[in-house]
């Protein structure tokens, strides 16, 4: 049985909201495609990371899998890393860490 297919009403609502956030992610990715600067793209992917944390939290309830919350926490902790690295990379060239 595929999880989530036979849940009750609340579960379905959680999955529906997750699907909505996923559609939003596609819309957010437009900014990452067209740019035009790298900073625009970094911001777009950063927002996508926050979006991913939300979707993971919704999935944790919708699929009844509590360990997904841990992944959401890891993402929340690591999401800023790319922004910091690329900011340092563009400001002082050649310095990443």
């Amino acid at each position: 049985m595929i999880p989530g297919l036979s849940g009750d009403f609340v579960t379905q609502v959680f999955l529906l909201v997750a699907a909505g956030f996923m559609l939003l992610a596609v819309a957010m990715f437009y900014r990452a495609i067209v740019g035009p600067t790298t900073q625009d793209r970094v911001l777009a992917v950063n927002v996508l990371g926050t979006n991913t944390v939300i979707v993971l939290a919704l999935l944790a309830v919708g699929l009844g899998e509590q360990s997904l919350v841990d992944i959401a926490l890891v993402y929340a902790l690591l999401n800023f890393l790319m922004a910091v690295a690329i900011s340092k990379f563009t400001v002082e060239r050649g310095d990443v860490l």
Binding site: G4, L63, Y75, F89, G94
Partner: protein, 181 residues
């Protein structure tokens, strides 16, 4: 509802993957690749593989971007002459046709999700390992016996890959970070 979520996730991963392949600016590709990794982590989470999703989250959001940026500092980032890569349409058509034929022919051999008749649910195999693992390998933990005994060469290959990856990371890092004045 889970079908709707899966469909939206499919679209997202597809768009990010195509963008990663097509953008000309290398730094932009590094950024967009991180978004692709977000989508893949969600996929693993959706398919109820939290351990794989956790690894993808840690590697994709953190380490991969850093490694790619470190590589960029050691190489030249040429100013892109145009926005996206040119696509060879006939070659694309041939490859797409080949891929579709492969997928359609092979799709039936994949067991359905949760299929009780699939290979993982074969109790004979499990029973064999439980009964004979100690006598065959002398290892008390059955999981360790399978990993290091029955499929030892497989594990050895994995260890070689991880070792090689670690060495090459150290080479890149040493030149960029550790030899700084």
């Amino acid at each position: 509802m889970s079908e709707l979520f899966a469909a939206a996730l499919f679209v997202f991963v597809l768009v990010t993957a195509v963008t990663t392949a097509l953008l000309r600016d290398v730094l932009a590709v590094v950024v967009v690749f991180a978004a692709y990794s977000l989508g893949m982590a969600l996929f693993y989470a959706f398919l109820l593989a939290p351990d794989v999703a956790m690894t993808e989250a840690a590697i994709g959001a953190g380490v991969t971007t850093l490694l790619l940026l470190l590589t960029l500092t050691k190489t030249n980032r040429t100013r892109p002459d145009r926005w996206i890569e040119g696509v060879d349409l006939p070659a694309l058509a041939v490859f797409a046709a080949l891929l579709i034929v492969l997928v359609v022919t092979l799709l039936n051999s994949i067991p359905a999700v949760g299929d009780p008749g699939a290979a993982w649910n074969n109790p004979g195999v499990t029973q064999y390992y439980i009964e004979n693992a100690y006598d065959d390998t002398g290892v008390e933990n059955a999981v360790t016996a399978v990993l290091a005994g029955y499929r030892g060469f497989d594990t050895f290959g994995e260890a070689v890959v991880v070792f090689a990856a670690g060495i090459s990371s150290l080479i890149v890092l040493r030149q960029v970070v550790f030899t700084r004045e």
